[in-house]
């Protein structure tokens, strides 16, 4: 029996939910993209680029990217919290992780909307 005293409002519940919702978005996108590539079978640059330049694919890919980055933030933050005990190193890793993921979000948007 685990005796837990839960304090504060919605403590960790939002993260738990976001982790699962983003996982479902990514799983659906992965199946959807593999199906598209299976059907289209892009053989050269133009065909490959055209797949992602298509409005719906571009939109879905961007949602996938954002889901991935939010999902990665929760997961990687938990890994640092569990295994990295010195506060200074942990804080540094948290900040670097967050900055990388925010940067990737902008980068992903730039790549997709230049198509």
């Amino acid at each position: 029996m685990i005796n837990r005293i839960v304090v504060g409002a919605h403590y960790g519940l939002k993260d738990w939910l976001v982790q699962r919702v983003t996982a479902i978005v990514m799983a659906l996108y992965s199946v959807f993209l593999i199906a598209i590539l299976w059907v289209v079978k892009p053989s050269d640059f133009e065909a490959w680029r055209a797949v992602f330049a298509l409005g719906t694919v571009k939109f879905a890919t961007f949602l996938f990217a954002l889901s991935l980055f939010y999902h990665a933030w929760i997961g990687v933050r938990d890994i640092w919290m569990d295994y990295v005990q010195p506060v200074g190193i942990r804080l540094t890793l948290h900040v670097l992780t967050l900055l990388a993921l925010i940067g990737y979000s902008g980068w992903a948007a730039a790549i997709l909307w230049r198509l």
Partner: protein, 132 residues
């Protein structure tokens, strides 16, 4: 008396003792979920860069193809394909367990074997189809 029911739970293991602690198979699945997730995260930057190369211009696409045909890149990609397949399958197992599906001891053991079987077969199929 310290049988399984009176031992203090949950046990927290630090990283050094984790390496020597003999985990049951569902525990291995779980820690590999973390390992694969961290691996995928660490290679997000290079992957985004490769994706950018592949869709930007015919010249960049040629560079992408050249990089992708290098064996070091292929080995890393093979690892990433496994990480993705494992993280995907183990993740679906965790989602089902959140929905109270297959939470009995026997069911969790069977689903663990299913995750390893499906993810390894998917890894082989994807490596065969994409890399070779």
């Amino acid at each position: 008396m310290t049988d399984a029911s009176t031992r203090k739970r949950p046990r927290n293991l630090d990283l050094p003792s984790l390496i020597f602690y003999k985990l049951p198979l569902p525990g291995k699945l779980s820690i590999l979920h973390r390992v694969s997730g961290l691996g995928l995260f660490l290679l997000l930057g290079p992957l985004l860069w490769l994706f950018q190369l592949s869709v930007t211009s015919p010249e960049a696409f040629a560079t992408f193809q050249e990089l992708a045909s290098c064996w070091v890149v292929k080995v890393v990609f093979a690892g990433l394909i496994w990480a993705f397949a494992h993280h995907f399958c183990a993740g679906i197992r965790f989602l089902l367990m959140d929905a109270h599906i297959g939470v009995e001891l026997e069911a969790t053991r069977r689903s663990t074997l299913a995750v390893f079987a499906v993810s390894i077969l998917a890894t082989i199929a994807l490596i065969w189809g994409i890399l070779l």
